[in-house]
Amino acid sequence: MIEVVSRQRCIECGLCVKVCPTNVFDRTETGLPVIARQEDCQTCFICEAYCPVDALYVSPFADMEQKVTEEELIAVGIIGSWRETVGWGRGRTRLAEIDETPFIDRILPRRS
């Protein structure tokens, strides 16, 4: 589930509020998004892909909270990692361009 909206990084663009398929965020009066309905999060990671400044972190645990701090996430380099993989952001190669899916059956384990 969504665990972190970084106050330091957020530029208050409101995109996460707009794109979340299950409407997890509320936009506060100041423009900062808050996690208003964490239990509605479906752990689909898509908000991270859209966040232009890597201010969001979705924990992989679907049914339980995970206490993490922004500092820890930065230290292990995991915040913003899904957007990097998708290849969104300036100067990056889109995942679609290097998609290996059409070729993976070439390396299937051999049948004995």
Binding site: N23, P60, W82, E100, L108
Partner: protein
């Protein structure tokens, strides 16, 4: 509800749902010159089963031999409930549309000979592109705007109403044609991207008397990390499976036992490790394919190539099932004038038959049925002499709606109802290892829950949406099990312990109709004595159409469609 603050729009075509099917339907309708509004519960671009991950596609180059073989194989795997012409139609149409997707800027890989490999799409990229295409076509997009009910009069559907949930404001769109592209129903099982898929489209269509088909083919579960949501199984082809003590249960190479994962998970925890990706190069290739697969493990600190990870199965409902709203012809129309269905909301049996062809068939079906439904919806609307503005339309929603005639007693406990429905459809022992007495008891419990959907709905936008979702899930579960108990055989993905083989006499599709009173019958052969329920409604409906000179109020027809009056 603040009526004066309602958002009111008029269009030719209203598309409900903003996944691939809805996007293609909206684009296709707009390409015909229709004025189109698309309303999605979430956001066109991020919403639905496709956007977060990626999807394989049923796609073959125009090679007669290749295609004939694929069609023959599908006919066999689908228990001969699909139709060769329809599979060919999908292969033809999807080829055209994927060329278009490439022209719009999707960077398909090419093989060594320069042939584009158009059999996989990365979800975020694909759906972002579809949003641009739909916007460029001039479609008005209502994001975060779930539809709650259809509008109708004696002539058929005429639009829908819903909620702009971030503005706490109702919306009403009047349109001569409506395309339902709301996806299937996955019962909030947290499969990747699937929690927006709760079946309201099926319920809305059924409330107007539309029929469903193939609801018994809803027995698909997908593996994911036990703690996570990423329901992608293809990379498990590189996995060895283990039990809790580290004993090997299965290793690639040998024949995999029938019902392997469900059987093993019944006995205890099952773990996997992708140790057959045994070189750096192989690991890189897999990471650059279904990349979303790795996100949960990377974040949980598990190296899936070298460490065992726990697996579970998440129920996929009708999303990876093959059933949905019955379509009556190549235009993806339903039995209700003006109402069309596309994508996972529609039955996919004509193409997939009785067994899910995995995501590939559904993804190609979404593209094609969306294109066809959008085009025919536009033609239907543009053939009308006037707009839907002048029609005397009424909301057709009943179950899970605070309708004065329906509300009684204490408030509806939507969360409680959802959990009760999940207890019937999630367990492998009920829904995977299907047997007649167990399914029968489950259906009786579901029928016992059903009156709760008519309780009063109190609260704001969120509560109103949730109540409708709860009602739709309860309805879908009942349709699934009613159909499953009627199909007394094993065919495609449907099994019954008591009938382990296909029965040639049941080689036909099953139509399901009705809401309070459900009827199941072979397609095209409705029971002669139509009692209470939608068959009665359809008969009424036909009568109403024939007696067009007679002023028949919309309320009477809608009540008939909801199964509240006897067939005339």
């Amino acid at each position: 509800m603040l009526v004066q603050d309602e958002l009111k729009l008029t269009a030719d075509v209203l598309v409900i749902g903003g996944g691939p099917a809805g996007a293609w339907a909206a684009w296709s309708a707009a390409s015909q010159g229709a004025k189109v509004v698309l309303a999605d519960k979430g956001f066109l671009g991020s919403s639905g089963a496709t956007a977060p991950g990626g999807t394989n596609l049923l796609y073959l180059p125009p090679d007669d031999k290749l295609r004939d073989e694929a069609v023959a194989q599908r006919m066999k795997e689908g228990g001969y409930l699909s139709e060769p012409d329809w599979i060919h139609r999908v292969l033809d149409q999807v080829y055209i549309n994927l060329e278009r997707v490439e022209a719009w800027g999707y960077p398909f890989r090419r093989d060594e000979d320069g042939v584009p490999m158009r059999d996989h799409l990365q979800g975020p990229e694909y759906m972002k592109l579809m949003r641009s295409a739909v916007s460029r076509a001039g479609v008005r997009i209502l994001d975060q705007s779930p539809a709650l009910e259809l509008l109708a009069d004696e002539h058929g559907v005429g639009g829908a109403r819903g909620i702009c949930r971030q503005k706490n404001r109702d919306w009403e769109v009047r349109a001569q044609s409506v395309v339902i592209a709301t996806g299937g129903c996955a019962f909030l099982s947290k499969g990747l991207g699937c929690n927006v898929l709760t079946g309201e489209g099926l319920l809305m269509a059924a409330e107007l008397g539309a029929e469903l088909s193939g609801m018994e083919f809803s027995r698909q579960y997908a593996p994911s990390a036990a703690f996570g949501t990423v329901t992608r199984g293809r990379l498990l082809n590189w996995a060895t499976y283990y039990d809790e003590d580290g004993n090997t249960l299965y290793s690639p190479g040998g024949p995999r036992p029938h019902d392997f994962l469900p059987t093993m998970l019944r006995k205890g925890p099952v773990y996997a490790m992708l140790n057959h990706a045994d070189t750096e190069e192989k690991r890189r290739i897999l990471r650059q394919s279904h990349a979303i697969f790795f996100v949960p493990y990377d974040r949980a600190g598990i190296d899936p190539f070298k460490e065992r990870f726990p697996l579970t199965l998440r129920y996929e409902g009708t999303v990876r099932g093959t059933g949905g709203i019955r379509i009556t012809g190549e235009d993806c129309a339903t039995t209700v004038p003006g109402l069309y269905a596309a994508g996972d909301a529609a039955t996919r049996e004509r193409v997939t038959g009785a067994k899910s062809g995995g995501g590939a068939f559904n993804a190609s079906w979404a593209i094609c049925s969306g294109t066809w439904a959008g085009e025919s919806a536009a033609k239907h609307a543009l053939s009308m002499r006037s707009s839907a503005d002048g029609r005397r339309l009424q909301g057709a929603g009943r179950a899970g709606m605070s309708h004065p005639s329906a509300a009684h007693g204490q408030g509806m406990d939507a969360s409680g109802l959802i959990q009760s429905v999940q207890r019937e459809v999630f367990p492998l022992d009920i829904n995977y290892f299907r047997s007649e007495p167990v399914l029968q008891q489950s259906l009786e419990r579901l029928n016992g829950l059903w009156p709760e959907v008519y309780a009063k709905v109190t609260g704001g936008s969120r509560e109103r949406i949730k109540a409708r979702e709860a009602a739709a899930m309860a309805a879908t579960a009942r349709w699934m099990y009613a159909a499953a108990l009627t199909r007394r055989e094993t065919r495609g993905m449907h099994t019954l312990l008591e009938y382990p083989d296909p029965n040639p006499e049941q080689q036909h599709r099953l139509t399901v109709s009705g809401i309070d009173h459900i009827q199941v019958y072979p397609e095209g052969r409705p029971p002669r004595q139509a009692g209470r329920g939608t068959m009665g409604a359809c008969r009424n409906y036909g009568d109403l159409r024939n007696r067009s000179s007679e002023a028949v109020g919309a309320a009477a027809w809608i009540a008939a469609a909801a199964g509240e009056v006897e067939g005339s």
